[in-house]
């Protein structure tokens, strides 16, 4: 297993008081808690500091941790055999354990008898996983393959990390912020406690054409000034394939042209709409002929769009 320097993670000295450890954890939690933080990698950072704090705030766990001596974070490490006699279940079996598992069952058991040793039912751990999907995957539904490492316990309550692969069907129309629950797919319960769950937090990846708002999709539709003025027919891409959209004569810039039912499917069996937002675009360079025609138009038209500013 890899050693973790819990003191360094919390940014405190090894001899720090319990209050100093609590203070350091609280400051870091305010910065990195995934429910309140916008920092990149906040979830992983918070998990690390919560694990460090869970051990260092408990005198029995901290004493057991201190007995392991000083090592660098990430250093390959194996607890000394007498550590298990003093703090663990005496078996000295550390295979398949994570570093945090060493201290998981020690609370209130400064000398042995710990490590999930009580007969109290313990529910398995829940896991939350971010699942970014594309708009196309939301449109058609998709399957995700999740590689999980969940915790199981042997007959003596010693934890083991077990790699598992879970496949889950993401239903059609899953959008930003939706949550899927995979019942019983989390950590194993112990002593009759129920198995934990896995929660998938769905988000939509940015798309080069569409922006999603619930089940509605928005798309920028460039049109020429003469198409906007005279009307036109434009081929529009939708997740189900291209369709022709009638751009009505007199279309304004920013106007939303609605294609009913061409958005993402809804759970009720319907579908959101697709909105093409007209954007009036000039040619990057005008030809002499275009310039001449526009001059004629300018001379012929009495339209003043700024009359209300006068």
């Amino acid at each position: 297993m890899k050693f973790k320097d819990y003191y360094a993670i919390l940014g405190v000295e090894r001899g720090a008081t319990a209050d100093a450890i609590k203070d350091a954890y609280r400051k870091l939690a305010r910065k990195y808690h995934p429910d309140v933080s916008k920092e990149a990698n906040a979830e992983a950072r918070f998990k690390e500091m919560a694990e460090a704090y869970a051990t260092l705030k408990d005198p029995a766990k901290r004493a057991a941790y201190d007995q392991l001596g000083r090592h660098g974070s990430g250093e390959d490490f194996r607890p000394p055999p007498d550590w298990s006699t003093q703090f663990g279940d005496g078996s000295g079996a550390f295979d398949g354990m994570d570093f945090a598992d060493l201290f998981a069952g020690l609370a209130g058991h400064p000398r042995g008898g710990g490590r999930q040793g009580s007969a109290r039912a313990m529910r398995g751990q829940d896991y939350e996983i971010a699942v970014p999907i594309t708009i196309e995957e939301s449109f058609g539904g998709t399957e995700v393959s999740l590689d999980l490492t969940t915790t199981e316990f042997d007959d003596h309550g010693a934890p083991r990390r077990v790699p598992r692969n879970v496949k889950a069907r993401i239903p059609k129309g899953a959008t930003d912020g939706q949550v899927l629950r995979l019942p019983g797919q989390g950590g194993k319960g112990f002593h009759g406690g129920r198995d934990g769950d896995v929660y998938l937090n769905v988000s939509l990846r940015p798309h080069r054409l569409y922006r999603a708002s619930g089940h509605d999709l928005f798309l920028d539709l460039p049109v020429t000034p003469w198409e906007a003025a005279l009307g036109a027919s434009a081929a529009i891409p939708t997740p189900a394939g291209a369709v022709n959209l009638k751009v009505p004569a007199g279309t304004r810039g920013g106007q939303q042209l609605r294609l009913a039912g061409r958005g993402l499917p809804t759970p009720q069996g319907g579908a959101g709409d697709l909105y093409a937002i007209a954007q009036i675009v000039l040619p990057p360079e005008l030809t002499e002929r275009e310039r001449s025609l526009l001059r004629d138009l300018a001379a012929a038209s009495a339209f003043n769009p700024r009359r209300h500013l006068e």
Binding site: H33, A50, A168, L180, P183, Y199, S213, F218
Partner: protein, 105 residues
């Protein structure tokens, strides 16, 4: 390594959890959940008091409440207040995202 297909419950499936089930899944007591309902941090999707039903969205809110309480070591009222703000920010961010989707790039 084992591989299996998981059964999926979806947040759009509507009110499907009783108070006791919500408490079990969120790892909170029923009294703690009632306190969250009382202060407006959690809203039952259906039913009358005693027969409330909750959807998976409520489960997300309740699990957030437990995380905030445990991770920040807050007393119940402080946790409920923080939850109200976290949820308000989440809704505002959702609204902002929806409005941004409607703006041309």
């Amino acid at each position: 390594m084992t591989s299996e297909h998981a059964r999926v419950a979806w947040s759009d499936e509507g009110a499907c959890l009783r108070l006791s089930e919500l408490a079990d899944l969120a790892d909170l007591s029923e009294a703690e959940l009632l306190e969250l309902v009382d202060c407006g941090a959690l809203t039952p999707d259906e039913g009358t008091p005693g027969q409330w039903m909750f959807g998976l969205t409520s489960l997300t809110v309740a699990r957030t409440a437990r995380r905030l309480r445990e991770d920040f070591e807050l007393e119940p009222h402080g946790a409920a207040l923080l939850l109200i703000f976290v949820e308000r920010i989440r809704r505002l961010e959702e609204e902002l995202r929806d409005l941004r989707a409607q703006l041309p790039r």
